[in-house]
Every structure is written in C-alpha cells, then in structure tokens.
Symmetry: D2
Subunit: 342 residues, 4 copies
Amino acid sequence: MKHRIAILGASGYTGAELVRLIASHPSMQIVALSADRKAGMAMAEVFPFLRHLDLPKLQKIDEIDFSGVDLCFCALPHATTQLVVASLPRNLKIVDLSADFRLRDPAEYEKWYGAPHAAVDLQKEAVYGLTEFYREDIRNGRLVAGTGCNAATGQYALRPLISAGVIDLDSILIDLKAGVSGAGRSLKENLLHAELSGGTHSYSAGGKHRHLGEFDQEFSKLAGRPVHIQFTPHLLPMNRGILATTYVKADPREVHKVLSDAYAAEPFLQVLPFGALPSTRDIAGSNYCHIGVIGDRIPGRTVVIAVLDNLTKGSSGQALQNANLMLGIEETAGLGLAPMFP
Amino acid sequence: MKHRIAILGASGYTGAELVRLIASHPSMQIVALSADRKAGMAMAEVFPFLRHLDLPKLQKIDEIDFSGVDLCFCALPHATTQLVVASLPRNLKIVDLSADFRLRDPAEYEKWYGAPHAAVDLQKEAVYGLTEFYREDIRNGRLVAGTGCNAATGQYALRPLISAGVIDLDSILIDLKAGVSGAGRSLKENLLHAELSGGTHSYSAGGKHRHLGEFDQEFSKLAGRPVHIQFTPHLLPMNRGILATTYVKADPREVHKVLSDAYAAEPFLQVLPFGALPSTRDIAGSNYCHIGVIGDRIPGRTVVIAVLDNLTKGSSGQALQNANLMLGIEETAGLGLAPMFP
Amino acid sequence: MKHRIAILGASGYTGAELVRLIASHPSMQIVALSADRKAGMAMAEVFPFLRHLDLPKLQKIDEIDFSGVDLCFCALPHATTQLVVASLPRNLKIVDLSADFRLRDPAEYEKWYGAPHAAVDLQKEAVYGLTEFYREDIRNGRLVAGTGCNAATGQYALRPLISAGVIDLDSILIDLKAGVSGAGRSLKENLLHAELSGGTHSYSAGGKHRHLGEFDQEFSKLAGRPVHIQFTPHLLPMNRGILATTYVKADPREVHKVLSDAYAAEPFLQVLPFGALPSTRDIAGSNYCHIGVIGDRIPGRTVVIAVLDNLTKGSSGQALQNANLMLGIEETAGLGLAPMFP
Amino acid sequence: MKHRIAILGASGYTGAELVRLIASHPSMQIVALSADRKAGMAMAEVFPFLRHLDLPKLQKIDEIDFSGVDLCFCALPHATTQLVVASLPRNLKIVDLSADFRLRDPAEYEKWYGAPHAAVDLQKEAVYGLTEFYREDIRNGRLVAGTGCNAATGQYALRPLISAGVIDLDSILIDLKAGVSGAGRSLKENLLHAELSGGTHSYSAGGKHRHLGEFDQEFSKLAGRPVHIQFTPHLLPMNRGILATTYVKADPREVHKVLSDAYAAEPFLQVLPFGALPSTRDIAGSNYCHIGVIGDRIPGRTVVIAVLDNLTKGSSGQALQNANLMLGIEETAGLGLAPMFP
C-alpha cells in the first residue's frame, strides 16, 4: 500500500517540484494538494507541465481531511507556516520547506525574520533537515524543517571541515551564485525576464541574508563556539542551481581528504577529483551535490566549491529524502533522476 | 535479466540523453558506449552530469563485442552511419538516430543529403520510427530509423488530419521554432552563447530543410498522392524544445476532434482543450508531446500547434520507446519522467 | 537653442528608451519626466542605467508646466492615454506611444480595445506614425500616434507589395516572434525569468491580437478593399526584437525588387540581398529594420522576413524619428546608434 | 579633417566593438580593417549588425598601407600580436588590445603566457592602458597596451584603496563573475549556447588566471612591496559584463570616501551611494563602470563591487578612450553611449 501524501502550497515552485519528484516515487501517492487562492483549480491549469499526472484538485487547507494522510509537505511562505502547522493534527508527520522551523532560538528567529515566533513549542520540537547530518533525528522526527537552499550548499562544503578542525574558523567566506527560482514565484520587477536575463548583481550583501541565521546556528554548534561567516549572494540569469564558492584557510589536500572521507558513503554528495571544478549544469533537476576542492596559489588557502539544484537537493528533493526516512522507506526512493543536460 | 544495450556515438547530445533515460529504465543495462575521438575516456569526463552512474568506458566501435549486445542505439552523424550499420552483425537489433535510414527512396536520399546512399539494401529494410504510426512494423523490425525531430513534431500535428481527409492538402504550412540542442554539439560561431542568446533568425528557409524529405514521403504516402508542404524553421535561444505552428485550411472543431480521437489512447501525445496553446516549457526533458488547436478569425482556417522536446520525444525518447517495442518490454518503460519546470 | 521635451510615463521601458536615445540627440533637452506612482524619485533610482545623465526628477503629470515644452512624448498605458492627452494644452505637439490613437474608426477601437473611445475628436486628428509612409502628415501633425511594434514590423514587410499589387491579398499570413520587453514592465507570472526563459509559446493566436486592428485599417486602405490577414504571435526568451515571417503568394524576385526599390532611399529600412535571412541580433538597440526575401520551393510562394527592435524602431525610435520631423530637425538625429552585438 | 584609423583583427568581438563605437565618433574615420582568414570579405558579411556602415573591405595586414594611418588598433590574439606589432612602422601610434604588452617584466610574461616574449624592446616601451591611472603616459605614448578586462575591473575597485593605505594588503580577495564574450569568438564546446546557458562554473581557479600577472605588477608597484591577491573567476550565462566582488579588510565608510574622492572627476567611473549594489545590466554596452561599497556584519570587513562591460570599458571602449588621448581629442569622444536596458 502506498503512503498517502498531502502537499500544502502546491502552486509554488517547491510544491510543483515535489509533485514532479513524487510522480516517479514507487510508494507515495498524493491525496491532497492545497493552494488557497487557486483552490478549485486543477493542478494542470496552474502547472501545465504536470498535466499528464492524475492529481487531486487544489483545495483550501481547511477542506483537507488529514485523517487519511500519512505525511504532509508544507511549502507555504514563512510566518504563515507557523500558524498553519500549529493548526494541523499533532500526530501528523510534517516536512516543512519554509524558514519557520529552521532556527532553534526564538530570539534568533525574531532577529532574522523581524517578528516573534508564534509557535515556539513546535519550533523546539522541529528537527533541522540537513539529511546527511541529522539522519537519526529525522528518522524519529515528527516535524522536520527543511534548510535554506543556500544554507544547505554552504554547509555541504564546510561542515566536515569544521568538525575535523582543519580550517580557520574566523576567516570563512562564502561567495554564492544563485539561480532565480530560489526567489519563488513572486512578482517583482527585478525577477522579470527583461530585467534579470543577461546580467548579474549581488543582493542581501554585507551580512543581511537570512540564511546566515542557519549558518551561525549550525557552525557554532559544530565548533562549540561562536562562528560567524561572511556571506555574499548574487543572483544569476539561470533558473536552477546554486554555486557556493567557499574560501577557507586550510591545507587543500587535507580539505579534499576530509570531504571525500566524510561523504564516501553518501548517495547524493559527490566530491570531485582534486582540482576539478563543478558546474551547476551537471546537477540541474537532480538531487546530487557536487563538491570541488582546489588550492590557491597562496599557500594555506583553499577554495571549496559546492553546487546543487536549489529546487531539488536545496528544498524539495531534500524534503522528499527526509520524508523517506520518516516513513521508513528507502532513503533514495524517487530521487534517482539523472540531471538534465543540456 | 536485463537487456544488454550498446550506444554508438555516446559523446553527443542524443547519446547522452539515451544514457540519462536508460538510467531510470527498469530492465536495460548499458554494456558498451562508443565515441571514436574520445575512446578511452570515462563518460563522466565527457559528460560530468552523468558521473553518478556506473558506466562502461568509451570505446572505438571496432573494440565492442556485439555478441553480448541485445540492442544497439546508433547516434552517429549521417553518412558515417550507413557505413557503420552495414558493418554490424546482421542479426543485431538497431535503433538508428541519424538521417540515414529515414527515406525509402534512394533518389530522395541523394536529393536531400547530396550523395548516393551506400547501403541501399539496409535502407529498404529500415522501418520509419514514428512510434504511434508504425508500432507493429517497429515491434517486428530489426533496423528502426528514428525520425527527424522537426519531422516528428509536424507529423504529430498533421498525420491524423491528412488520413481523415479534413484539411486542404495544397496549403499546409509549418512555421517551426527550434531549440539549439537540435544542432548537436557542433562547433559553429552562430551556436556560441554570445551569438545565439537574445535573438532569433530563420534558417534553411524556402524549402531547403532536409526534414522536408520525410514530410514529402510520409504525407504523400498517407494521402495517396504527392503532398508538398511549406516549411520554415527558426532557431531560438533555448536549449530544448520544438514548437511547430501548423497552418491548415480546415474546420477547427473538426480538427480538434480528429486529433483528440486519434491520440485518445496514446500515452505521450496529449491534445489540449480546444483553444489552449501549448508551451515548450511544459514538456522539457520529457517524452510528452502537447498539441493545441485553435480556429483563426478567418473562417475555414485552423492553427495546430505541437510542442515536444527534440532530444527526448524528438530523438532519444522516441528511440527508447521503439527499443522497448523491439525488445517486447512495456512501451513506456524508462519514459515516465515528468518535464522539468521551471 | 535646444528643443524642450517632456516624457510622460518615464518609468516604463519605452519611456526609458526615449531617454536613452535623446541622451545622444544633438538638439533635444529633457525638461520634464512623469511617473505617477514614482513621482518624487530620481530617474537613477528607477533606472540605474541612466544614472550618468543629468535628468529632471519624476513628477506627477499635473505638476508639469507645459508652457515651456516644445514636444511631449506620451508613453502611458492605453485608455489612460486618451484622458491625459485630452487634458493637455491644445497647441502642444504630442507623440503618443500608446494604442489609443492608432485606429481611425471609433467602432474599430471599441472592437479591439473593449471600450468606447473617450476622445473621438483627437482620434480623428491623430496621424498614424509609420514614418516612412506618413512622412508629410507627420511633419504637419500635432498629435502623432506611434504604431504597434508588431504592426510596424509586418507593415514594413508588406506595404509596398500591397501597393504594387504583386501579392495575393487573401492569403497573407504573418507568423511573428516577439521579445519580452514588448510586454512592458507588467508583473505577470509568465514574464518571470523562471517561466519565460528557455522556452516559447504562442499567444493571442487565432486572430485575437489587437495589432490586427492596425493591419486591417492600413492594408485595407492601401488595397482599396477589405484585407484581413492571418497573424500568430509567439513570445520568445529574448528581451528585444521582433521577427515577422511573412508568407505571401507572389513571385519572389518581384517581391525583392519592389521592396528594394521602395526602400532604396530610406535611412533605416535595409533590404538584404535576395535569399539572405535577417536576425534580430543584428538590429538590437538600433533603429534599423532588416528585411530578407526568399522564394519557397513551391513556385509562386514567397517568404518575407522583417526584423526590428520593438523598443527602438518599433516604438521609441520611431517616436523620436517622428518628433524630429514635427520639430523640423534632421529626421535621423539621435538615431544613429549602431546595434549592439553580441 | 578626421583621424585615419586602422583596426587589425576586425573579425573578433573587440574589433567589431571598436567599429561600433567609432561609428559615432565625431573625428575618426576607419580606413583599413584586417582579418587574415576573412580577407576579401565585406565587414557586413562577417558582422551583419554593421551593414549600415560604409566600411573598407577586410584585408590581410600586409596589404594595408600604413602611411596614411594615424592610429592603429590591434585586436589580435596574444603571441601573434608581438610579431605583428614589431613589423609595423616604428612611428605608428598603436593601441593594442591583446595581452602581449601588459607586463613590464619579460620573466613575468613568460611565467603567465608560457613562452618567451619575442619583442622585449617594445614590451618596455609600452604604456599600461588603464586610462584613469596612466593618463599622462598614455597621452605621450606611442604603444599603449590595453589591460585585461578582469584586471581593469578589479583595479577600479582597489587601486585608490591600496594607494591610500586603507586596506590590509595580505587578505585581498576578488571573486569575479564574467560574461562569455570575454572568451572571444573561439569555438569551444563549453561556450556553445547549449552548454553555457542556464548554469555557471568557476574556471582558472586557484590562482591560475593570467590576469593575475597584471594584478601582481600593478598592486605591488602601488604598494611598494609585493602584493598577491586571491582571484577566482566564474563564467556566467550572459554575453557582456563583469562583476568583481572584492573583499577587503578595511573600514567601509573610509573605503567609500576614498573611492568617491578618487573618482569624483572621472567621467566614466561612478561610485554609488554607500550601500547601493551595482548590476552589470546598468552598464551594458557603455563605457561606464559602477562601483558599490558595503560593510559586512563583521566589523572591519568591506565588500567593494565593481561592474563594467568587458567589451567596452574592459577593452574596446578603454582602447578608444586611450586613442583619444594619444590623438589629442576630447577623451570622451565617441564614448557617450548610454547603456542598453533592458
């Protein structure tokens, strides 16, 4: 029998990506899809690329009967999410893709998101969903919080290095290049094709990007002392993909060995041969993360470059991987899609 | 036990797309990959997006032991192909993706490709690989010739209409918009990103495009008399996808009904509701073909618009669908991937 | 002394393009810029690419003192425009870029734009701004209506052919490919980079596009009898440029000769050598229109392909060219920019 | 009377960009264009976007009569350039756009370019063409060496800061994002639209990029001691534009003041208000360079972001600016084009 799945917020990109992935999942069945403003519409009207699938109509959340649902993906905007999740049955397994349950400390949440958290109890209960590093907690969790897509990319490049103590903790710098689907389906002039294509710019520079809250929380916890990195994201004229160029003070060969060892058994994290440089094109549409390591000409400096697809490994693929763990399914089920190139 | 597959010409886009698709095929195993100039290299070096797969090294064709191969995909350039295919074991099942075996008449081949055919016997034996219209021949065929990607798109829009006798045969016009991967990996200035992106132009206009040979052959055969269409292709700044805007003199509702009926049972051909207009974005990376029908303001004129992914339904997906038939496998095996959007 | 210029609607693309062009105009000076919702802002805040220019602040229209203005460009949305223009001083020279004054017949306006015209007198007074064909009227006009960008492209391909009587009037078909800036700065999901890039689709197909009103009016007038063409526009993942593939029944060499002769003295209309195919890349950012002519393999059929930049020759460049005429300046002043390639 | 100009290497992007710019130059006239493999062709055949200009035919270099040439732009590949320049008349003014005369030290040249320099005397004579910092030398120079486009971008962000002694010299890091036209018209698989669009990757990482030779030379000279920066370039799916994200240890407000003061009188270098972030879209096609400064959340760290168009300010625009100085013309002549947006 198939696991019965609901997706809240199915009219956004991460919701649609979940449907795309689950379409080739051997043991999941979508039984409910929500989209408040588009309730009553068929998914094929909102996303014609899914028209070949037999899917339930879009509903309002309160129209959904959760008693027949085994697991619920929540792909709603932050702030809204905490209210919705608080209203769901207490025994329902939930994988949340918003920012609402990523930070443990309510004060940190308020600092980065500008308002007090409305569901502090749930915030405490939530497991941070970076699969490879919280596998057991996720398996046993009821509410798993998907990570920020940028935060995931940077952490894949850096966590084993911090744990192994092989890099200087006070000079970590991530210069990140992000595709535009990470901004979601929001209607802003600078996301129009006419304004975004053919150029690039930095945004949230200077330490203002909210994913820094996750970096601070996770890296400090790993290091056992406060770690604050420098982080500058850039928006690129591409739809999918994140490339994080990570600058550390460390021995490059040692960095390569630590990462290779740490990820040797991981199905989706692939460390390239030393000196090879990854491309976002090589992971587009897939759950893979490629990591390259190269030494700089200046001794003692190393560049670690990680790439992943923000909609897949950075959000919906991660969410599905976590859901598999929570439901006791093979962790990689539904995630075997090869990247699409060209 | 899995069917053992060889792919000749694995360093091009259609070869790589075959590998991508077969990676999620339940009963095929790739046992040999050829690429003459890149023999000895790992596929991951040529196409890093396939690095997660366990694949045989690239070989020269004459290094391959075909005795253990059940079916061979041939994704080589035209002209070369006829020589290679002629040299392969006579009992080997072959799905060819080149232009070499699409035309029945050697004179037509010479007219469109500028040289006499070097394997006329094989040319006769070959089955035209437009799956939905040659299913039984393909099932029983040994050598199946993949169609041109543009030729496939136009035929999906028009064949049932010609068969049903509902359109004027002397005023068919196809204005086609093609993505750049259809041009393959060839190194030409006008295919560079700097020269192709951000603009469009027509090419092979005026009745010079070689896929007209296929249109002439197939439409004339269907109609039982010569049919010559007008065909103008355009190159667009997109990697995948073909959109064929097809102009016919016919009653629009009748056209919609004929197409809907003809494709009602087809797993990959989807006729949209009357008046709905398809987008190449909605089929990218998948084996689906969407077809829209709309009436013009001028009575008696109808526009049929078909979209498909040139690398999937237009070549490698079609090839795999045909291979499934030839091997007695479920026709849709390995082809269930949802399109990738955005 | 410089001519004093106002631009209403300066926060849209055509307004900004006017500023870009006038920046290199030898005898025009911008004295007022309006943008109702952005009144009070500097142009550099709205369009940072213009930050090197010394420009007046954005104002509300009713804050502008038109007594010191020699000519006013009006780049406002249609419907709004007719109200604004009716409220401006009666002796002010106006070049309008909206759709409001393109159609002579109020019934036609209502048919295509869905509401009665609110300034029928002005509508009668307005001159249709297709420079090369209404030069004397424009020179003497007070209110000149810029043409639709698609309508301009198609007319450049076809007008001399209709006038010369060398094409069949009942089988004219335009398949048009348009860049996205033609849709303006409007916030719609399908104009987002994530949704528009990498694919194409048709829109307003079947004879619904409003520019058909202009084609009908102009071609019927030229022919001296009703002419209704078939017109199917497509949206392409490019920012600037229109390519109109125009299908006519005619002798190709005669078509080429008629067009070449008609445009021999035109500074911006360039007929390519017979058989050469134009590209939108070759006119981007400039006021040039390239026109190619080729014969089809079917005798008596000809393809005429015209390309221009929708923001320049298709709207703001045309508007400036007309303004030059109205002010008695050299017609080409400020319009000498070479296209930008790549 | 106009200055008579020759351009060697006119079939590449920088050559064509020179023609585009000179087309609106008030006092230059192109009298000779060379392109060895395309000698005999019209420029309009090689670059149809220039077809409206009246230009000399392409010639082989040795067919050009340099006696009537006032200044020669040399846009040839490196290594070839030094041989060609050595063969030109000794009194001919030359602006070179290649890498051959950028480095003063023959050993450095050999280190970065892999072969000994074949014209060491000329190398010594050459002036480094970063206009704003070598104005007097350029005015008096005979042979001016255009800078690397990436090297120019980084130097505009950093030179005044090094001169003023306000940044730590041992921790300078430039993470650079470059458009693809910087790679020229070379035919490589990874420059094809199918492979470049929609993704990003780093190249020449780890301190291997040749423009580091210029950074080393110039920054060390400025500082009076060896300065070695860290530099990681990335290739982006855009045609024009470089964005250099420059990380320094310094006080952000002081950095902003130093840059603002240094460039206050510069016509093309624009320092944005503190905290504003520049975009490559805002300088495309123009000779402007925008520079933004922001402080990081970590005290004492500053991010300086510079953007310019690699084909204009980064090469051909710079070359024209230098030529103006060498010929005693207004420095900004022919360079007033506003950027093109969108």
